[in-house]
């Protein structure tokens, strides 16, 4: 038996490395894939065997997904799952493996990876043509660009421009489009960032993503990387208990357990982005198996969080949402972490009977949001336990885990609109901490576009 065969056999015992692209209605599924021992969710498409296209995506996201696909190193394959029975025509390459049941995703990925290793399946070919985004335009004696020695637009991209910075020097400024599949970001979030070193000078939300789709598609080096399963996006998902509670009475336990689960799944993701992936998995397991008796585990988690100096160091005084900024938001944990006690549940007589008091913190920083969500998860378990069979009172507004839901509004639009104001001047690491701590639920660029239109002027 040759060396190659040995290596292939060894490789076959490794988990299939997946780079998930999370589309709409997939957040119920995506986070839990991390718990599956058959899979390893990786941060970079360069290291992935399988591109996992989850949920529904619109054309813009598919274009970005194609760039991610082409960045993967062969042998590579594609697995597609969509909740509404799949539209096979959507994914541009024909060799994608289509899964119908979410429970089969992991096994399918693993089989596809094994087939790729065993050469029973050929590696999926490039989707986009390997072309320069624009021809080189040079006029100087050495082929350089337009004006002066350094002007010009090599391959259609202007060289970095200069702008004032905090040191009083005018140095190069880099315009980067990040997202919609950057692993530390909520899936679907796309930002235009002006960077100087790793200080963010300006953030804009791409208003017309469609117009710029060419550049977001062609920019493979951008690390168009991927997705990850953020906590369940309950805002739009049609069958979530929170949207159901808008119109009909729902048992409180059926609202509060998913809320606690959402908060814990969010915490797992936040821990992962903070560099504590292993502990995040522990929290994710807790969230997965959450029941009415899990209160002690949450208490232990809370103690651990409070004692972990390094986490406090990385999150306190980061991304402070002031009281004034919070007032402009519809509500939710972010608002309550800034000293505002708005909570749709306090208006519900059923909750009032249970003695519900919203959890509020005053600091408004990322740490406050972390702690508040853990406290709310704890409170949710208590409420669920005490509520017995009592049901919520439908009033047209229901408190979802990200904030109040109304028939036509999701709580995330306001948060996305707040990002430019919040992130300007931050270092990249702090900005990511802030974005994660806000728990924004964006999946469809169309929703983001609406947010950009409604942004603070």
């Amino acid at each position: 038996m040759g060396l190659t065969a040995t290596i292939a056999r060894l490789a076959a015992s490794a988990p299939a490395r997946c780079f998930p692209l999370v589309g709409a209605q997939a957040e119920e599924v995506a986070p839990w894939l991390r718990l599956d021992p058959l899979l390893a969710i990786v941060d970079s498409p360069r290291a992935a065997d399988v591109l996992l296209v989850l949920g529904r995506s619109d054309d813009e996201m598919l274009r970005a997904a194609a760039a991610v696909h082409d960045a993967m190193s062969p042998p590579r394959g594609v697995v597609v799952w969509s909740p509404d029975g799949v539209a096979p025509g959507r994914w541009p390459s024909s060799d994608a493996v289509i899964v119908r049941e979410p429970g089969e995703i992991a096994l399918t990925c693993r089989r596809l990876r094994d087939d790729l290793l065993g050469r029973r399946v050929t590696s999926s070919p490039d989707v986009l043509p390997d072309l320069d985004p624009a021809p080189w335009r040079g006029v100087g004696p050495f082929g350089q660009g337009g004006t002066g020695m350094t002007g010009g637009v090599p391959y259609g991209r202007p060289l970095a421009g200069r702008a004032d910075d905090r040191d009083g020097l005018k140095l190069d400024q880099m315009l980067v489009r990040v997202g919609p599949f950057l692993p530390p970001f909520p899936p679907g979030l796309q930002l235009d960032v002006k960077l100087q070193g790793d200080v963010i000078q300006e953030v804009t939300i791409p208003a017309a993503i469609a117009d710029a789709a060419g550049s977001s598609g062609g920019e493979a080096p951008l690390g168009a990387p991927g997705p990850r399963g953020h906590a369940a996006r309950l805002a739009v998902a049609g069958d979530s208990p929170f949207t159901a509670a808008l119109t009909r009475p729902v048992p409180i336990a059926e609202l509060e357990l998913p809320r606690a689960r959402h908060h814990l799944a969010w915490l797992a993701e936040a821990l992962r982005v903070s560099g504590l992936e292993a502990y995040g998995l522990r929290v994710l397991k807790l969230a997965f198996g959450l029941d009415l008796e899990s209160a002690d585990s949450i208490d232990a988690l809370d103690r651990w969080l409070r004692r972990n100096v390094s986490l406090r160091w990385g999150t306190s005084h980061v991304g402070v949402v002031t009281g004034a900024q919070a007032e402009g938001l519809p509500g939710g944990p972010v608002v309550r972490a800034s000293g505002d006690d708005r909570d749709a549940r306090s208006l519900d007589p059923a909750y009032q009977r249970l003695g519900f008091e919203p959890v509020v913190r005053d600091e408004g920083d990322a740490l406050a949001r972390w702690r508040l969500r853990v406290a709310e998860a704890r409170q949710s378990l208590q409420l669920a336990k005490r509520s017995g069979t009592s049901e919520s009172t439908p009033s047209g507004v229901a408190e979802g885990p990200r904030g109040p839901l109304a028939a036509d509004a999701s709580p995330s639009a306001g948060l996305v609109a707040l990002l430019p104001e919040l992130l300007a001047g931050m270092e990249w690491g702090d900005a990511v901490t802030t974005i994660v701590s806000l728990d924004v639920g964006v999946v469809e660029p169309s929703e983001q576009r609406a947010a950009a239109g409604a942004g603070p002027s």
Binding site: G138, Q144, T147, T150, G152, P158, A160, R162, G168, L171
Partner: protein
């Protein structure tokens, strides 16, 4: 024999990389070619039993060249070498000056007569250097320390945005007509770089 081969290899590397510094298109490469040149000289020093000095040279230059690379990227256009680049003036004069200084020093080395008294190896050179630094040459050593301290203060004073009389970029600005003349040469000044 092995010593000689090693020496010539590193000597060639030191000279070659020194030459590449001014031929590289990429700023980062230029800085790191210079680092290679320093490291090669460091190795030659180690071969000459000046082990401590050779290693210290490499240690110092690793940091300094990295800072230099960052400076190049920050202050120069075209740092990545995507555009071919030559930025020279008085090239011919410079070449002549370089060749003349090489010939002069090499001639000095080849034709002057030096005493022959090779240094012994082992731990001794480092120990002796230490005793010298903190013994007979204590004053020189201390002066070097004070010089470095003064340099640090001066460097911060020069480069900081705020001076004694307010912000550095207010007031001390080149006369208007010269700026205009410059702008004529370099219309790309405020444009995309």
């Amino acid at each position: 024999m092995i010593l000689d081969v090693t020496f010539w290899a590193f000597a060639a590397l030191a000279v070659f990389s020194g030459w590449r510094v001014f031929r590289a298109d990429s700023m980062v490469r230029a800085a790191y070619w210079l680092l290679v040149s320093f490291a090669a000289v460091g190795v030659i020093l180690v071969l000459m039993k000046a082990q401590f000095l050779g290693l210290i040279l490499i240690l110092m230059m690793g940091g300094e060249m990295t800072i230099m690379a960052v400076f190049m990227v920050a202050f120069m256009m075209n740092p990545a070498g995507l555009n071919p680049m030559t930025m020279v003036h008085r090239n011919r004069v410079a070449i002549v000056a370089g060749v003349v200084s090489f010939l002069a020093i090499a001639a000095l080395g080849l034709f002057a007569r030096f005493p022959t008294a090779p240094a012994p190896g082992g731990v001794d050179p480092t120990r002796k250097l230490g005793v010298e630094l903190l013994g007979d040459s204590m004053l020189v050593f201390q002066t070097a320390g004070v010089t470095l301290l003064a340099t640090m203060i001066a460097a911060i004073a020069i480069s900081s945005a705020r001076g004694r009389f307010g912000n550095a970029d207010e007031g001390s600005v080149e006369p208007v007509q010269l700026v205009a003349a410059d702008a004529g040469d370099e219309p790309g000044e405020e444009g995309p770089r």
